[in-house]
Assembly symmetry: C2
């Protein structure tokens, strides 16, 4: 096989393409996004996502990652090499990663999401911070959630900060985008209990027994959930707060809800005690 193409100019079309994909409009137009770092790229490959191009930065690529790159190349994936200097211009990180990938974007529709009896989804309405969204996706993966549902004006899961914060879990958790009404109709039809988190709810999140399938629903960082969604929810719960903090970080709130539903709903899962701990 001939050596991989070597890119030395910032005017190279592939470099321009990577830059264009940092922008939401560019990602929408191209249907692709960029993944940085050996581990996240490896997760995308393993999960069967379509890799358009691998961009290798030889100076920064660990030797342990070379076989993966060679295998993809043998399978027909386009592989190009970038200088460290050029790579530094394509990343916000202090040290450029050894590997970038251009990956085809992929989301599900609500109708495509499987709803097993034990499904716990997390639905986010108008969440604006891509780092928060990525962290929610990472936590949803760890907590065994069945999917992440993006409602309203929720930010793009393929934004660089979201991809980074998801630490590769983006490739493991189904993600669907929908309007709020379509979400509520889907939940009714599939008998998915909607559990809204709100600072104004009366019941504490840890005093409820959750019955999957369910969707934990959280609102935007600044505003929380709009009234229509709070009213339409089957249950509203509040995460107790005692200090001067006015709210919790959105990704923290989502994690507390996801782990609390898991703790009370799945007492016989591995890692879960078969009865609740005794307070004392």
């Amino acid at each position: 096989m001939s050596p991989p193409e070597l890119i030395t100019s910032a005017a190279n079309p592939l470099v321009k393409r990577v830059r264009a994909l940092t922008d939401r409009k560019g990602r929408r137009r191209e249907g692709a996004f960029v993944v940085e770092g050996v581990q996240p790229v490896w997760r995308a490959v393993e999960a069967g996502w379509e890799i358009e191009t691998l961009l290798v930065v030889p100076e920064h690529l660990p030797a342990s990652a070379e076989p993966m790159v060679a295998r993809r190349r043998a399978d027909g994936t386009r592989v190009a090499e970038l200088s460290a200097e050029l790579a530094a211009r394509l990343t916000d990180r202090d040290r450029p990663p050894g590997l970038f990938a251009v990956v085809r974007a992929r989301t599900s529709t609500l109708g495509e999401l499987p709803v097993p009896p034990d499904a716990v989804f997390v639905a986010l309405h108008d969440v604006g911070n891509p780092g928060n969204l990525g962290t929610v996706i990472r936590t949803a993966d760890a907590a065994g959630a069945a999917g992440v549902i993006l409602l309203g004006e929720t930010t793009d899961p393929f934004a660089p900060a979201a991809v980074k914060a998801s630490m590769g879990s983006l490739f493991a958790v189904p993600i669907a985008a929908a309007g709020a009404d379509a979400f509520l109709a889907w939940a009714r039809e599939r008998a998915v209990d909607v559990v809204a988190a709100s600072g104004y709810a009366e019941r504490a999140h840890w005093s409820v027994t959750y019955r999957p399938p369910l969707a934990v629903l959280l609102g935007s960082e600044g505003e929380g959930l709009p009234d229509e969604l709070l009213k339409a929810a089957d249950t509203c719960v509040r995460i107790p707060m005692v200090g001067t903090a006015e709210s919790l970080n959105l990704a923290v709130a989502a994690a507390l809800m996801l782990y609390e539903t898991r703790r009370t709903a799945f007492p016989h899962r591995p890692g879960t005690p078969s009865s609740p701990p005794v307070s004392g």
Copy 2:
């Protein structure tokens, strides 16, 4: 009273000072840091932190914040005005805030931390990301923690990203920095149970009954806790994970630990059910 001084030049010593305080060395040398935004500055004022200077950006200051600024000025705080253009150069945010404050830094020593019988501390070892640290401080406040203890090479709580992520809770939660050995000696002496979170522990975090006073101990984002600290802990627990995620975000892990200790340790606190929820 004469009108506040108006700053129009980037060469103004106060502007230079604000810039110098974005740097850890500058903060150490000066013993001060910068707070951005009306709400966080108001929290610092209310909590009695020493405000060196208030920098007002008239174009962006909401009218509702004017009385607070006027009161501080009447009390002798130095108040200066900045153009929006100059303010934009002092912030990473897309839209400059209406108010900046230069605040005197303040931390506690371990010996100064009160240890009431129900105290729950969170101790972080070698945590590198200031956004994570700020989010931990915010969650510690909301969960009623008695303090945040910074061990080893943990990042600076007065870094701009930490201050921002703490959302003003920095001014409500005692923060102490210490060496790991001093922390362990303090915990033994004050009968503070050390509960370490580790991916390798056998017991799930939700299967343990926590007995305050205690300190939840978490390690760095990449490495977790070093063996010495894991061995020295009174209890080691693991937050169960089921998906492909290799770890949880540090601030998420701290939140799950803090809320879990609170749920099982304080069954009679307001907002806490008097008995654990029944699984089903």
